[in-house]
């Protein structure tokens, strides 16, 4: 087999240093979407870069560097989930959120309290407020919902990739997203987002 000459260690070091500089924050955000805990996310970035460093010679430039790094990161997360499977399945099951929906809808599936309409954002004045409330409410979502939401909405990941990382089917992903959005909407309304007209009741 004709393997190209392995790049020197120095080259790999230089590459890893550059990845850290260029992609460190993006990788960290991606990791944070998946594990939530900042220390764990930092460890994931570290593991990813170490693995990439070790595999530097195998990077062939078929994908962009960042895509390649993200793939490594996701594999690490999948491993992590596999190792903590018992936990993952017991309280992170995507369907384990019926009780929230039951609070939202009655037994016939109708709103108990119809949501008020949010006013459309004027300019960018309250954008900071919006993010503060969004982050606050994201913090209250069940783990897999927040992972699905962050990856799809904030990281712009495509749904196939998210299904793979979270090990769910497409229909389960839509379930997760529905619950996430319903919870966010309730939470953000309660925290005063865009209800200048005031909710009735």
């Amino acid at each position: 087999m004709s393997t190209p000459e392995a790049p020197s260690k120095t080259e790999a070091r230089a590459a890893a240093t550059r990845w850290l500089e260029q992609y460190g924050d993006r990788l960290y955000r991606h990791a944070l979407a998946l594990v939530r805990d900042s220390a764990q996310a930092e460890d994931l970035v570290q593991d990813t870069l170490l693995a990439a460093f070790a595999a530097h010679a195998s990077f062939r430039g078929e994908a962009s560097e960042y895509t390649w790094l993200v793939r490594i990161l996701r594999n690490r997360v999948t491993d992590l989930h596999r190792r903590t499977r018992e936990v993952a399945l017991s309280h992170l099951h995507p369907d384990a959120d019926e009780e929230f929906l039951d609070r939202l809808f009655d037994e016939r599936g109708h709103w108990r309290d119809a949501p008020p309409v949010w006013s459309s954002p004027e300019a960018g004045a309250d954008q900071r407020d919006f993010w503060r409330i969004l982050e606050l409410c994201l913090g209250l979502l069940p783990e897999r919902q927040v992972a699905a939401f962050r990856l799809l909405e904030l990281e712009g990941a495509d749904s196939d990739a998210v299904c793979k990382v979270l090990e769910v089917s497409a229909s389960n992903l839509w379930v997760l997203m529905h619950r996430a959005r319903a919870r966010l909407m309730r939470c953000m309304t309660e925290n005063g987002l865009g209800t200048t007209e005031g909710a009735d009741g």
């Binding site: 960290y28 900042s38 970035v45 319903a182």
Partner: protein, 92 residues
Amino acid sequence: MAKLHLTCREATELLSRGLDQPLGRPERMALWLHLIICRGCSHFGRNLRVLRDRIVTGVRAGTVSSSAQMLSAAARARIGALFGNAHKPRDQ
């Protein structure tokens, strides 16, 4: 075959999924019929759009990259050190 009469619970599911992938014609039809008569779900749908739009705007404007979402300096230094960093001052 999608049914024609939706509950609000089902309608909100379709509204949410419709943001991520195109809905089938029967689903769109059922949803449309439901939204005509249901204020709560219309609000929900509008709010979903507002949520999506504001996130898109925020991501574009970089508002989302608050310091909480960045790799801490300490972590950066620690990871950098693993690669025997080039920050070492050269002699002469």
